[in-house]
Point group: C2
Chain length 234, copies 2
């Protein structure tokens, strides 16, 4: 029985891949998801199915309401941008949720401390992403630095907490190829910021576009698209 | 009209003093409290009364349940230690709540970003405290460093976020003297980790002991004790 790890599991393509990677590395999996008032709460159904399929030791779903704080198209009635072109110098888009990864990682830190585990996995990547500040390596290093001064486990306990972001330098196509080699069922994941009530992806938001480009570059069909029989490539 | 600041307001003696200090410095006050399943939820009544009295612009109460994560006498049925003696080399006590300040500051960071304010006030102090790792200056510096890499406001926006901990080097007696000079009504605050249903302090937990020692050293009567007519000095 290996060491335990807290894995942030959104139900998306990236976190599903990270969970498979942590499993491959021999970690016992403690999956953590967040019901934070997100428009795309369908992702929680995916997270639950993925956690069950991966036979995690425990799946914790933490509830709070970021709609009260607002500031994002994912938590308010602000429109999710569709069919937009963007580049590296573009402003951070309205789908950015203020301090979301900091909040998520803080709860993961609390759980890790109670479990007595020192490894946290998060599925951020800095290449094929939408320009969120809390997906960058320097942010993650700063969080890890802070975490090692924040808890009993890492001060009195003398343990070192590590934030693993194994996808950080990978393209979406690389992530998909690697995940497929690990047996990830991408048909059970979701990426869309604005899905239909059925969970069907819109095909036009940044997340759908990045996903479609990733599958196209990997040269494989997206099983999610096949499942909903609605091609969403552009 | 001054700049705005997010003030973490627990309803305790320290945070009430910090709020008065921020007000004195001319900040518009955005108070933030947390209903996290704490045993001493009476503190939220105090926080609401203090926020109303201080005429804050807004008081946000964020709800989540740390009882599901556990690991503390403040969120489980674990006994709160009473009448204990402790020193600087003692282990961190069971009233420590894993990663609590990190979670609180993360929500404050999110709200600050949405409000467009760059000042967060927190009432930690490193002298008369119970030995919590997330009350130390090096922890706060590390959080601030991380926060400045975490958000749109502090990256794209070029703003610098500051975590103010004006009580960090003060004794409890100094805090009380200073608060009284600012007109803080300590009778409206609470400190007890294990209050009666009426809100009456137990008089025997670490927080009650620190408070009693602080008032004794400041040479003033604690209006809270007077109010409940139950002396709780030891």
């Amino acid at each position: 029985m290996g060491r335990g790890a807290v894995v942030l599991l959104s139900g998306g393509l990236d976190s599903a891949t990270v969970m498979a990677l942590a499993h491959q590395q021999g970690y016992r999996l403690y999956a953590m998801s967040f019901d934070y008032g997100q428009r795309h709460a369908h992702e929680l159904d995916c997270a639950r199915a993925l956690a069950q399929h991966a036979a995690v030791v425990e799946h914790s779903v933490v509830r709070f309401d970021l709609r009260a704080i607002g500031g994002s198209a994912l938590t308010t009635s602000m429109a999710v941008p569709k069919d937009r072109e963007w580049g590296a110098t573009d402003p951070i888009p309205v789908t950015y949720v203020p301090a979301r990864n900091t909040i998520f990682l803080s709860f993961a830190l609390a759980w890790a401390e109670v479990l007595g585990v020192t490894d946290i996995f998060i599925g951020v990547n800095a290449l094929d992403y939408s320009g969120y500040p809390d997906c960058r390596p320097e942010y993650l290093r700063a969080f890890e630095h802070m975490a090692n001064r924040a808890t009993r486990l890492t001060t009195e306990g003398g343990q070192t907490l590590v934030v693993h972001a194994p996808l950080i330098d990978m393209t979406k196509a690389d992530i998909i190829r690697h995940g497929l080699s690990l047996g990830v069922d991408y048909g059970a994941t979701t990426s869309c910021y604005d899905p239909a009530a059925t969970g069907a992806p819109c095909g036009h938001c940044d997340a759908c576009i990045l996903r479609a480009r990733g599958f196209a570059a990997a040269g494989v069909a997206d099983p999610l698209v096949v499942r909903y029989q609605r091609p969403h490539q552009r």
